[in-house]
Symmetry: C3
Amino acid sequence: MNKNSSNIMALAPNTSNKRETVCIFGTGDFGRALGHKLIQSGYPVVFGSRSTQTSSLIPKDAEVLSHAEAAQKAAIIIIAIQRQHYNFLTPLAEILHGKVLVDISNNLKINQYPESNAEYLAQLVPGAKVVKAFNTVSAWALQSGTLDASRQVFVCGDDMEAKQMVMDIVRALGLTPLDQGSLLAAQEIENYPLQLFPMWKFPILLSLGLIAFFFFYCLIRDVIYPYVYENKDYSFFIAISITNRICPISALILLALVYLPGVLAAIIQLYRGTKYRRFPDWLDKWMLCRKQLGLVALAFASLHVLYTLVIPIRSFVRWRISSQTVSQALNNKTEPLNTTNAWLSDSYVALGILGFFLFVLLGITSLPSVSNNVNWREFRFVQSKLGYLTLVLCTAHTLVYGGKWFLSPSSYRWYLPSAYMLSLIIPCTVLVIKFVLIFPCLDRPLTRIRQGWERNPQYPE
Amino acid sequence: MNKNSSNIMALAPNTSNKRETVCIFGTGDFGRALGHKLIQSGYPVVFGSRSTQTSSLIPKDAEVLSHAEAAQKAAIIIIAIQRQHYNFLTPLAEILHGKVLVDISNNLKINQYPESNAEYLAQLVPGAKVVKAFNTVSAWALQSGTLDASRQVFVCGDDMEAKQMVMDIVRALGLTPLDQGSLLAAQEIENYPLQLFPMWKFPILLSLGLIAFFFFYCLIRDVIYPYVYENKDYSFFIAISITNRICPISALILLALVYLPGVLAAIIQLYRGTKYRRFPDWLDKWMLCRKQLGLVALAFASLHVLYTLVIPIRSFVRWRISSQTVSQALNNKTEPLNTTNAWLSDSYVALGILGFFLFVLLGITSLPSVSNNVNWREFRFVQSKLGYLTLVLCTAHTLVYGGKWFLSPSSYRWYLPSAYMLSLIIPCTVLVIKFVLIFPCLDRPLTRIRQGWERNPQYPE
Amino acid sequence: MNKNSSNIMALAPNTSNKRETVCIFGTGDFGRALGHKLIQSGYPVVFGSRSTQTSSLIPKDAEVLSHAEAAQKAAIIIIAIQRQHYNFLTPLAEILHGKVLVDISNNLKINQYPESNAEYLAQLVPGAKVVKAFNTVSAWALQSGTLDASRQVFVCGDDMEAKQMVMDIVRALGLTPLDQGSLLAAQEIENYPLQLFPMWKFPILLSLGLIAFFFFYCLIRDVIYPYVYENKDYSFFIAISITNRICPISALILLALVYLPGVLAAIIQLYRGTKYRRFPDWLDKWMLCRKQLGLVALAFASLHVLYTLVIPIRSFVRWRISSQTVSQALNNKTEPLNTTNAWLSDSYVALGILGFFLFVLLGITSLPSVSNNVNWREFRFVQSKLGYLTLVLCTAHTLVYGGKWFLSPSSYRWYLPSAYMLSLIIPCTVLVIKFVLIFPCLDRPLTRIRQGWERNPQYPE
């Protein structure tokens, strides 16, 4: 009987405007916003509410009925009510039998309840076909029509046909449905809109720490030291000179930290002689945010490039070069070309350019649409081979930059070495360990371990 | 009987090459191209045509039969005929009963007919299962095999099984089928290939207007004025100097115009005391093309960066600096370092770099694959918080650039203020209004309105 | 009977943890890795093996049974065995009847066998529902949980329900299933993980050839020649000056090679008077890798931009400018501004900036996520109109760069013209032919041919 009534509903509007009536339980903000949008898209909408009094907030063309009456008018019922009040649906179980219930609810915290709201709804009304959808869309965006953000609507449910009906509504509203499988996926779909860049927290905190440390380090060496000993005011160095020292240092350290967990993992596996034991938790977490670490490093590297390229435009640099030239002219002497200097300066710049170029390539391949178009072998080639080449080039860039002054005592101020020397510690460590791991006596057992071999199998195979 | 014959068709080829025969009605260019491609992919192809005479244009391995005969040979019939001639299918209705009809037609104008071609076809042959597909692919691309462009084929239809069969053919041709839902989507699919960057028209026209206005403005101030009063030929300024003034000005104005509709909408909502009334049409349209406005602004900003970085390479700049230095040397005087100037110059450059960096970040997050991977909360954080920070940095960059000359009378030529001053009007207005709107006395009611509260509800809730 | 047992399996775990038992045939590395991951995701796992002795390698919570016993415990059986050993499944055919068999195998070479492994499996066990999946995922990535690369799992199979079940497992493991249609797609899915940038081979080899040729060409002209005749050591030119000559030359030649096959194809079609004959094989292949050629050209152009922007930072350039200024000061003369030079220098830089800007735009539109969002008309507009404009701007940039010295005898060293002159040959040829093809007397017949018209149809139409 129930099914019949919904079939009649389905046929009637087909002749006029082809859209089936949609019922919305709840007249809250999201329910009303969805109602507005559905009516705009040509769907007849009926609201189910405790009080059947129409309010100005409810779209004019919508009917407001009691829950039971409204439910009987439509095959699809959108539950725009918070999870805590789902209980009121239990008495309606018979009317809701065979209907498609769309759970659109969100929680306030990740994993707030043991089971997802949609699964809870399915337990309360066992006869209904529950579909999870729309929870990733905001009422404001629906209302204003300006959906700049993702138009994707994750949909999941156990009944294929019910899911199809909901996906058609999603499409009719101008959004893109994404089938996420059975109702088991509801938990993840409900957690999705609650997160705010979860993988980025550690890389960003780490880089803020690096910035703070190296800012004060460079401030002491480059601004306070000359002020104390030479009484010169170089405070304007803060704007560009010091920033342009913090950026490359942070970029190099972060890039090395992308490859450090890989070599640590190799050492642990070699030591344990098996790949079948879990890594320590901190290493697992570190490995999972390598991509984010690398992208933050790329951001710093890009800033470094921009800060370096504006050097000749800076009025301080123009003044310094001009006064050097004037003093040369006044002293009536011309310096000959120093070929060694030319070699050093050109090759450190060239190494930097090549390193940055490869770094940008790595960044481009980590764009979702690009990495989805390469297979695992291609991805590994780019991220591992090109990645290490980038690290080698950037480390060499820093080493050649140091050039002649490297480890010379005059570059120590207050016993503090230049900042770029500190930045070389981690990259050089990573490269040395990696170099050692390439030797056949270590590479061969490692490869076997990664293919599933064990040094001390507990049972004979 | 009909169904039987198609079943026999389906079984027979399965043993040899596994592909079912496909019938194509119409031997026009697209029909032939599709036939060629289907034969290449191993499908037996039969053409249905008025004249059954084979022409050299028709692929050799294809049969050409009358419409009725051809239709009986296959379960899938591709209608490669223009909508105006669909009438000839009416007499074939009995033969076409139960068959899958693939509508591949396109129109010449958007929304040319009240109903889509596919829906019209479904009305003409009610017994057939109509599927819309292939209309977004070009014959030339199919023929030449060089499908550089999108390999996506939008597919829609009411019958799941029929849709599945067509999607399998699409995949076999090396294309990617995209299920767009029921036949209701056909209208949109038919409009899709007709549009040429519809959202970009307004931003591009606006920026062309800005370019034209500021080009003549700068030409008068920077080329004609010195020519008239100092008789100097600075016409070469057009290539770089003037362009590098137009670009940042246009970028800043366009960036401010991205955020202006948002503050206007807030004012309107505060004034009306409700969010449930539609914005004026121009505001709606403006809000919908904000992303495009922002990307055009980013393009101008990128050009500005490039034009700025090449400054030291320009022969004019080299000549000016060199002659300044020579005259200093000849006058035997050395200028001391002006720390205030160094601060101003460095900080305006640093502000510009940071602003541009954030701007590029915004641009990257607006890439479809990136914005699909962030949830609504993350997108809003980036586009709103980072967006306003970008606007603040870029406006500050322009203000500090002006620096000491700002509002000084000597910078007026023919009573015209510097162009960069004009560019500051809109950004400063937006920032001031936004700053006012942040005050709790305005922010609190606005937040409540956006959550669905009304100041003057017509009915008590 | 068989079906019943699987139904019981499906119901039993649903009450506790909702996951159905999965059976894995084979205890090799990939089988174990998948088992680990399945158990982590809450699936009961049972291994089917020749020897039922548990080894430490096998996850603790998994049962190890004989193949026949294991198969009866689950509705889904993952075949983690190499294709050569599939024969052992033939005796199990009765037990496997109605089960879902998941083929996860890979080959060592592309198209190693006439039919795909999955199709071979379907032939061996005709009563089972074969689904191809998981072959694009690596065991190492599964095991370590660090799936940086693509999370996409291609799934294909003839039985919709079986495919749905496998796709749900894929989703439960945190991967993204991609439905590729029927089992016909298995061949392509098996070839997918074996390829390593197949379309990039030719462009990269070509550009390596160009680099090698122009490196030695410039080395002779710019380093060896001055060393022989003027005894000057300009070897440091290798780091930046010569690289910055190779990059723009390669970029321009490769960009022209993107558009050369298009004009060749037009000439061939005009000559033949038809579009219905295949192009020569080399032209087809060339056309297919145009996108890759263009992206390599863009990479060279980007390097050229970086190498050009660092010019004022180079210590050699600083030395040269400073010594020129000093000698001017010492000779007590100031050069007047040469307006022609300023025009030439500024316009060649401006042309380069605009050309590079358009080139980057072209590169952005070739990102998969962007090109999927534009229709064919928009893509053609960007790639063809903007593409030619880019080529015109870049060629003009090179021509104006040559400027006054163009074809002057003093620029020939050892009868070798400047390298940039060589780079102009192909672009100018392409542009001249394209210009000729635009004339109506050629454009009109070409358009008609591309719309399907033939000059000499063999049969009257």
